[in-house]
């Protein structure tokens, strides 16, 4: 029983961690609080399902293409919509309010588009649902694949941020956007890359979720909310923190669902959020400011 909860929780946490990675990049580096983030992931999930049902392309094969499309969409969105807001704010606190409002509008725009294109019904394809034995616990193969994608993407991102010159520039902008230009960093370019990379991660998470979870066009808010709670828990812009917090949330949610009631998982998310806010508002792994 405990092993089952543990393994299922870790596998679920992998998806959450992947989902939160993109948001922590968008908020930490580009400073855009993106409330339409869940809709981004949902759009990718619907795209993966449409490709699977339309031309029989497995989500595993379409995933790289969807991630690339997500990068492109994020790049374009930053250039068209966020850049003017950044320029208008002049580096002040107004960007936060403006980006919240603008992406709140974007949320309804994307949701309306998804409803128009795919309808309001719940969708699922249950691709690769064969059970695989993990330490005596049967886990669906699609969930394991999603977990592997998370570990790969998360590990690659952590390594790239820590060891490459590109990662150094990213971290510099996240830490001190005002001082980064002094050492020759093009803040606008780095922020755009961070935002686009975040969108690519959202798309990757959405496409892997589409393999095993039932979802509908109106469910984006819950994705965004969970990702936000993980980002706050891990410390804004902290990639390893988001990974750890994602796994923690997956474990707690699976525990609540099996031991108490599946209808209370969002309440568990909120309770966790409240606990973090009261105890360590800077995040479990964030530095005190």
């Amino acid at each position: 029983m405990l092993t089952t909860t543990l393994i299922l929780g870790l596998v679920l946490g992998g998806t959450y961690a992947l989902l939160a990675l993109g948001l922590t990049l968008q908020y930490g580096i580009a400073r855009i609080m993106n409330l339409a983030y869940g809709e981004f992931a949902l759009a990718a999930a619907f795209l993966a399902v449409a490709l699977f049902q339309g031309i029989g392309l497995s989500p595993l094969l379409s995933l790289p293409g969807i991630a690339a499309a997500g990068y492109g969409a994020g790049w374009l969105l930053y250039q068209v919509m966020m850049r003017p807001l950044v320029a208008r704010s002049g580096g002040g606190g107004r960007l936060e309010t403006d980006s919240i409002l603008a992406t709140f509008g974007l949320l309804f725009l994307l949701q309306g588009g998804l409803l128009l294109a795919f309808g309001a019904d719940f969708t699922s394809i249950s691709h690769l649902e064969r059970g695989v034995d993990v330490f005596g616990v049967p886990v669906a193969a699609n969930r394991l694949i999603a977990f592997a994608i998370c570990v790969l993407a998360g590990g690659a991102l952590v390594a790239a941020l820590r060891f490459t010159r590109w990662g150094l520039a990213m971290r510099a902008v996240a830490l001190a956007p005002g001082s980064a230009p002094l050492v020759g960093i093009d803040v606008n370019r780095v922020a755009r890359q961070g935002f686009a990379l975040g969108a690519a991660l959202a798309a990757t998470a959405g496409a892997s979720i589409s393999m095993y979870q039932t979802f509908s066009a109106t469910g984006g808010v819950v994705f965004t909310m969970k990702a936000l709670v993980i980002v706050i828990m891990g410390g804004v812009g902290n990639v390893p923190g988001a990974l750890a917090a994602g796994f923690a949330l997956g474990l707690i949610e699976t525990f609540v669902a099996t031991a108490i009631d599946p209808g209370l998982t969002l309440a568990a998310t909120f309770a966790l959020f409240l606990g973090v806010l009261l105890w360590r508002p800077q995040g479990l792994f964030g530095a005190r400011t």
Binding site: M33, L35, M81, P84, R88, E96, T97, D98, I100, L101, A102, F104, G105, L106, L107, F108, L109, L110, Q111, G112, G113, L115, L116, V221, V222, T224, M225, L228, V229, I232, D261, G263, L264, L266, A267, T269, F270, F273, L274, L277, L278, P281
Partner: protein
């Protein structure tokens, strides 16, 4: 003198208006009055402080649901009182845990609050009481609802006018301009924000409670419709969230436009809403009233 007499005269006119319209017209009047109230109450807190609350429907729905649960057990005034208390308690809980911190935490919490309350009520109804969905049988006519909503809306705007001239309003404006300055000039940040937020939440809850008989059948997924939060924010923003009459000015035309759009373009309606919202944020970020004031001043100066 005219400035003092104009609002009561307009209110009296609005109060007798339902005598000469059809049932459909009365429905429109109720809807417009509801959104004027919601947008004004939202702006009471968010307009001055710039703490964007995305939780309007969490309070509105709580009010409606409280009436649905209590309408057969208690007399109507007591039901309204209970609804207001429930809204105040919820606002206190949210405010105490988030308003001491940076604004973005408050936004995030309010963003998911409606969904949380909806899921909790659904869970409670399914597992404990076993009745999902309730009926409201109250002896209230549509005109009665309109008059109550008109009174609440007028009270909200009057309260906002009074707060704007009081120490509380001054403190809220300073907080909105610069929180650090506010703290240094001796304003108790948490208490000021909390007071305004609870006031605003009680009005939102009451608005939900008053309109609830219009629904007849109430279910969590009906009364916790996120579109209400969305419309409230865009209306207040369009008119000018930090002006006394701004939210009302934005609410009436947008409500009529949305009614027309949802009747004629039911499928593309959410897309149009989203586009309109983004348009408002980009083109008139301060709202129409402040923009018009600036234009007038420039004219006068030239």
């Amino acid at each position: 003198m005219i400035r003092l007499l104009l609002p009561p005269a307009a209110l009296a006119l609005l109060a007798v208006w339902p005598m000469m319209v059809s049932d459909y017209g009365l429905g429109l009047l109720i809807g417009a009055a509801t959104y004027v109230t919601l947008a004004s109450a939202w702006a009471l807190f968010s307009g001055q402080t710039h703490y964007v609350s995305l939780a309007t429907v969490a309070f509105y729905g709580t009010g409606a649901y409280a009436v649905a649960v209590l309408n057969e057990a208690l007399p109507y005034p007591a039901v309204l009182l209970c609804a207001a208390l429930a809204g105040a308690a919820m606002a206190l809980a949210v405010g105490l845990s988030t308003l001491r911190l940076r604004g973005v935490y408050f936004v995030i919490f309010s963003f998911g609050l409606a969904e949380l309350v909806r899921q909790l009520i659904t869970w409670y109804e399914v597992n404990v009481t076993g009745t999902l969905g309730r009926y409201i049988f109250l002896d209230v006519t549509a005109r009665g609802i309109y008059w109550q909503m008109l009174a609440l809306g007028a009270a909200t705007i009057a309260l906002t006018a009074w707060i704007n001239r009081s120490r509380l309003g001054m403190a809220l404006r300073v907080i909105g301009d610069d929180e650090e300055v506010a703290a240094h000039s001796g304003i108790n940040l948490a208490r000021t924000k909390l007071a305004a937020f609870v006031l605003s939440a009680v009005i939102l809850t009451l608005a939900g409670a008053i309109t609830s008989p219009r629904y007849v059948y109430v279910e969590p997924s009906i009364v916790f419709n996120p579109t209400v939060s969305f419309l409230t924010v865009i209306m207040a923003l369009l008119g000018g969230a930090n002006r006394l009459w701004g939210p009302a000015l934005g609410a009436v035309p947008l409500f009529l436009a949305f009614e027309w759009l949802s009747a004629h373009f039911p499928d593309t309606y959410p897309v149009l809403l989203g586009l309109l919202f983004i348009g408002v944020v980009f083109l008139v970020p301060q709202g129409i009233l402040p923009a018009a004031e600036r234009l007038m001043r420039r004219r006068a100066g030239a």
